[in-house]
């Protein structure tokens, strides 16, 4: 892996995205430093998931530049598959492959993208499943796992590729409340290992405790950003205040 450089781990500059006539992203700039956990909050439809999905080009940006460790993600001549294996992504609906066991969900990309042998891939997959506390479920199909376990397998699947940054797109929104904690615990442990993380989520309490920085988005733009204490205790913008009061129930 690269030695820490002056450049941020993930850098987004002047990002624009239209869906038909809807201008979803109106010039978004974000940089995520090494080992930083950045939380993106905002009302639904604010463009935060679109922004995240542009980072590995599941959505193709209309304008703007994205860099991973200084390497361009956007633009002509980029080897998209090579860059994507350096960017892990975790989805709201888990998206585990239902026909493959937990272990084989993890090994598929190791075998087919990294070209690892079966033994190598299995060892790496078991280590990743161990890290999310599910080594004992390695042979289970996703349907035999709870939602929280499925999401942890999905994290292991991304983690096994040893990405330089992990993107989380509302990772706990589809979970029953009692299952959220296990996923957040895994994310917290990931942060402790120094993983760089960009998280779109509504988990306010978790943002407050674990995030290094919080970004508030609304209407396709960044409203403000800062430490969780400052954003939650002392927001500068009326839009931030109205959003926070809505999601925290008017507190």
């Amino acid at each position: 892996m690269n030695a820490p450089t002056q450049r941020p781990s993930l850098e987004v500059r002047g990002l624009h995205k239209h869906f038909g006539t809807f201008h979803a992203l109106k010039g978004v700039d974000i940089s995520v430093e090494h080992s930083e956990l950045v939380f993106v909050l905002g009302p639904s439809g604010s463009g935060k998931s679109t922004m995240l999905r542009c980072c590995n080009r599941l959505e193709e940006p209309d304008a703007g530049d994205i860099f991973l460790e200084g390497d361009p993600v956007t633009g002509k001549g980029v080897d998209l598959n090579a860059i994507r294996q350096r960017i892990g992504m975790v989805f709201q609906s888990f998206n585990l492959y239902p026909h493959l066991s937990a272990r084989r969900n993890v090994t598929l990309a190791l075998r087919k993208v990294l070209g690892q042998s079966r033994d190598e891939a299995d060892a790496r997959a078991m280590a990743a499943l161990e890290q999310v506390g599910l080594a004992d479920k390695s042979e289970n199909l996703p349907a035999a796992l709870s939602g929280g376990q499925q999401q942890r397998v999905a994290i292991a699947r991304a983690l096994a590729l040893e990405p330089q940054v992990m993107l989380f797109d509302e990772p706990t929104s589809a979970l029953d409340p009692e299952l959220v904690g296990d996923v957040l615990a895994v994310m917290r442990e990931l942060k402790e290992t120094g993983m760089t993380m960009l998280v779109v989520s509504h988990e306010m309490q978790f943002a407050r405790e674990a995030a290094d920085r919080v970004i508030i988005m609304d209407d396709g733009q960044i409203v403000e950003q800062g430490s969780p204490e400052r954003i939650f205790e002392n927001p500068n913008h009326a839009r931030t205040r109205s959003f926070l009061s809505r999601v925290t129930g008017g507190a």
Binding site: N95, L108, K112, R157
Partner: protein, 221 residues
């Protein structure tokens, strides 16, 4: 009553016709062994063509599939066997059957595969692509295994249809089972060989029909 049994269920005639019908059965199985895998492969390509990003390819395959689903297979077979010689292309009965069935089967299997691929959520593709898998790897390892599972009853149903349709080959004098049974009928002046052939179709296809019903029940819970 005895006369009826004599005409339709004459065991002696059936035994006498058995070697002929058995040869016909082998030919029927040989046709199936060629046209089913070819049709499945052609159908897979047709489905991928219909789902292609390339508009020209997409329209061409949709046109192909519509056309060959609308043409009666018997018309197609007679055209390939008896029509193409007017363009200087004379095919053996087996080759004519193989080509006509490839075109017909590819269209039907293609529609089934297309529906199957469409039944796999986009989240699956996104998850696979996000790990660096390419488009064709994603199709091969993530989408298609799920797609086939989702439309397995339809694939088997269509395969049953294909087996039944192989009897059309009798019109181009390919000695498959129906042709053989009808030959035996004309020699023995008895319907019993036809009953025997029908019975063999039943024995081959009935388990598959049951299998489809079981799948469908399972899918409907």
């Amino acid at each position: 009553m005895d006369q009826l049994i004599e005409q339709f269920f004459n065991i002696e005639i059936m035994i006498a016709a058995w070697p002929t019908i058995l040869r016909g059965l082998w030919m029927t199985l040989a046709i199936c062994a060629v046209v089913i895998p070819m049709g499945l492969l052609g159908g897979l390509f047709a489905a991928l063509g219909m789902l292609s990003q390339n508009r020209a390819l997409r329209w061409a395959t949709v046109g192909f599939v519509d056309f060959f689903r609308a043409i009666p297979p018997l018309v197609l077979l007679i055209f390939v066997y008896s029509g193409l010689p007017f363009a200087g292309l004379r095919l053996s009965p087996f080759a004519a059957v193989a080509i006509a069935f490839l075109l017909n089967n590819s269209a039907y299997y293609g529609e089934i595969f297309r529906a199957g691929i469409g039944s796999v959520g986009t989240g699956q593709t996104e998850a696979a692509r996000s790990t660096g898998l390419g488009a064709s790897q994603t199709m091969a390892y993530v989408v298609l295994p799920q797609a086939v599972r989702n439309v397995l009853p339809d694939l088997i149903s269509n395969t049953i249809e294909v087996v039944k349709l192989t009897s059309l080959a009798s019109v181009v004098s390919l000695a498959e089972m129906l042709y053989a049974a009808d030959m035996a009928r004309s020699v023995t002046y008895s319907a019993s060989p036809l009953v025997l052939a029908a019975g063999i179709y039943l024995v081959i296809l009935w388990p598959l029909v049951r299998l489809v019903s079981r799948f469908e029940r399972r899918i409907a819970h």
